[in-house]
Assembly symmetry: none
Homo-oligomer: 430 residues x 2
């Protein structure tokens, strides 16, 4: 074993990057550190080796130690958090102190801050001025949607710090718009690691794994499965000199997976089910409306998230209360009385009602028991009825997601199930 | 600044615990490190100070370094991951090597492994035997649902390592059933740390910080602000002997914060805006419906997430297409032609329409330009019109969230803004 001195004074034993997330809220367990995961993924995409992640609270002494240690181990340190205007935002100050460098007030940042605040009808406060201080010689990473900029700064040879705010949307935008370019131009992007993620619905993780035991054993590319609520992901990861090489390695595995699983794979990488459905409808120039009870507008909300969905999504009725199912969707009262609001008959009437009222090609309807109360022996919590009506399609079905599931999970599973069956229905009409 | 040697050779400058999560899948960004957050929360509950979290991949040299460093800084090191049977599970072996201690095969673990596998009709494989090796002198933490046990081991004075598997359910069970008792019996559980989080809407982080400079400087309780999209959180953290003492310390700060910010604070701890709105309406026995254009059902979906919301939420109309605004909500065509779909006149007509059709006490309507296209100079992306109609209330307003915002952020900000104004409107009618 090396002595502490040896361990400490040895020269850099690794190139590559470290991630340092700063914030007492992480150490107190108040938030999950999703920033580390996101940055780690981005580093893998760029092919920048990444060997360590650290979290430190808003404490200057411990933060200084962590920055100093990283500067002896790595070429790049990426920090998140602590750039804001409040007294516990200490990142920039401590970084400067660690390398005995003064902070200087930057007029360009000050001007940018004033402009941003003016557009919101506000003035620059004393505490916000702090955000214009950066170590002498540092380059700025512009913050497009928030106020605090980040820095790119090399306080010593072979070591550069990049700082980002802790707000995920600001961090991501700054990374994509500025950091990627800098890291690539400065040749940090080496042997690249590429992943392709295939998304599956309507199959569980172990059934999928049982279809591909030989693929799960392969090395480069490697294949791994991940399960989340209502969805299974398969990640194919390849290492290579460039994206041409990794794509060539991934392609045959992807093809084999698709052959083995039929239409179960609904999308790749960041593609979502709602995006796929919107694309299919745009291609067919067809329109859709929703009639939602237990999901309360969640399908409409998902479809509306996709830019351009206004061309195919007309809207819908959230028929949470039974009186609305009758009055707005014209579901006959006797159907509700005879079969119950959660029934094949009611969802079929809801789909017919919304299709007619909204004058659309496709209609989707949902009625179920999301719980935690409202279940019975015959119709337990987790029972959900669905109907899809298309130009030539009329299908209705029920799912029993299980009464041990949370309200949130039942709603989420209902949305995914409905969208996936809609996807398959549209494909089948082609 | 201290030299590297000074930083390295100094004696322990902190007591308390560190968390070390081991696994290349975290460094590759394949999974979010939720284990760190969970353990951090548990440490806070036990009142064990916690100053650093680290992630290292399945690499023996870097892992050894990280363990050694932690042993010079902390009293307790909690590790997760790397206890399984596969070749990349190296945690126990590296821990033993770091402190020059041999591993010994433990018959009690071997027997337990055999029994567990037999109950599943399987035999102990060579690779699984590895899990029965622990450093000489280590205590075992039983694994109740999985195979790999953890250890509690003090390789040197004032330093103890506790190891856990990376599977969250196994880790949690082992923590609750064994680790808590050990940590408490060995007096690591000191002053407890309690946090209360207050949620604010309708105020930005720096305006809030400027109202409470004196509180942000206080030490015990400490006060910190955090911004996320459309919301600001203030965390009050107190240390004390027991929860009575910490609650007593937090209470006056909470009161002062509320006095200084009026009605801006909408909830505490895990309370959400939609939960607060549902509670207010339940108290007043009043009902609500929504008329959503650019948010596509997201407000309805939020309200429906709350158990019991069926008593107050009747449903709504997703009027994404203008024809639906006319046909279903009875917005006169000339209003849309004269003022545009995103206008004060249209949202007022939408709110009136849905209130009348759904026969509810409250109606909320939204129409805006979520982008990325569809904006003009006069009506840019990010412009959203709102209306709330209640028993005695009729307010309409517009927000300009900024055309640099993403579609997702504009939709999210619209929902939060609408729900917060609804909350205030209901309170005002009281």
């Amino acid at each position: 074993m090396k002595t502490s001195k040896e361990l400490c004074l040895q020269n850099k034993n690794q190139s590559g990057a470290e991630i340092l997330c700063i914030g007492s809220e992480i150490l107190l367990g108040n938030i999950v550190n999703t920033n580390s995961q996101w940055i780690a993924e981005q580093l893998a995409i760029l092919g920048i080796p990444h060997f360590r992640q650290t979290v430190i609270g808003d404490n200057p002494i411990r933060l200084k130690e962590a920055i100093f240690e990283a500067s002896n181990r790595s070429e790049i340190l990426i920090t998140t958090g602590g750039l804001g205007p409040t007294p516990d935002d200490i990142t920039t100050k401590v970084i400067a102190e660690t390398f005995d460098t003064p902070l200087e007030e930057r007029n360009d940042i000050l001007l940018d801050l004033k402009n941003k605040l003016r557009s919101k009808g506000r003035n620059l406060s004393e505490s916000q001025k702090k955000q214009s201080l950066v170590p002498k010689g540092a380059k700025i990473i512009n913050n497009y949607s928030g106020t605090a900029p980040g820095i790119i700064w090399s306080p010593k040879a072979n070591f550069t710090i990049l700082t980002f705010p802790g707000v995920p949307s600001e961090l991501k935008e700054m990374w994509v718009k500025e950091a990627v370019k800098w890291l690539t131009n400065n040749n940090f992007s080496k042997n690249i690691i590429s992943s392709k993620v295939l998304h599956f619905a309507g199959i569980n993780e172990s059934s999928l794994a049982d279809k591909i035991p030989h693929l799960l054993k392969s090395n480069n590319p490697s294949v791994a499965t991940y399960a989340s609520t209502g969805e299974v992901k398969v990640r194919i990861t390849a290492k290579g000199k460039n994206s041409e090489e990794t794509n060539k390695a991934i392609k045959p595995i992807e093809k084999e997976l698709n052959q083995l699983t039929g239409l179960k794979c609904f999308g790749v990488d960041h593609e979502t089910l709602e995006e796929v459905v919107v694309k299919l409808l745009l291609n067919r120039k067809e329109t859709i409306a929703v009639a939602e009870s237990c999901t309360g507008g969640a399908i409409g909300s998902k479809l509306t998230k996709i830019p351009g969905s206004s061309k195919i999504f007309y809207g819908g009725v959230i028929a949470y209360n039974n009186s609305i199912k009758q009055r707005i969707l014209e579901v006959p009262e006797e159907i509700i009385n005879n079969h119950g609001a959660v029934s094949k008959q009611v969802v079929e009437a809801m789909a017919r009602g919304v299709q007619k009222k909204f004058q659309v090609n496709w209609a989707i309807s949902i009625s179920g028991i999301a719980g935690p109360t409202g279940g019975s022996k015959l119709k337990p919590v987790g029972l959900v009825n669905f109907c899809i009506k298309g130009p030539e399609t009329l299908i209705s079905w029920e799912e029993r997601f299980g009464s041990n599931k949370t309200r949130e999970d039942i709603q989420k599973l209902s949305v995914l199930n409905a969208l996936d069956r809609l996807r398959l229905s549209i494909i089948m009409e082609n």
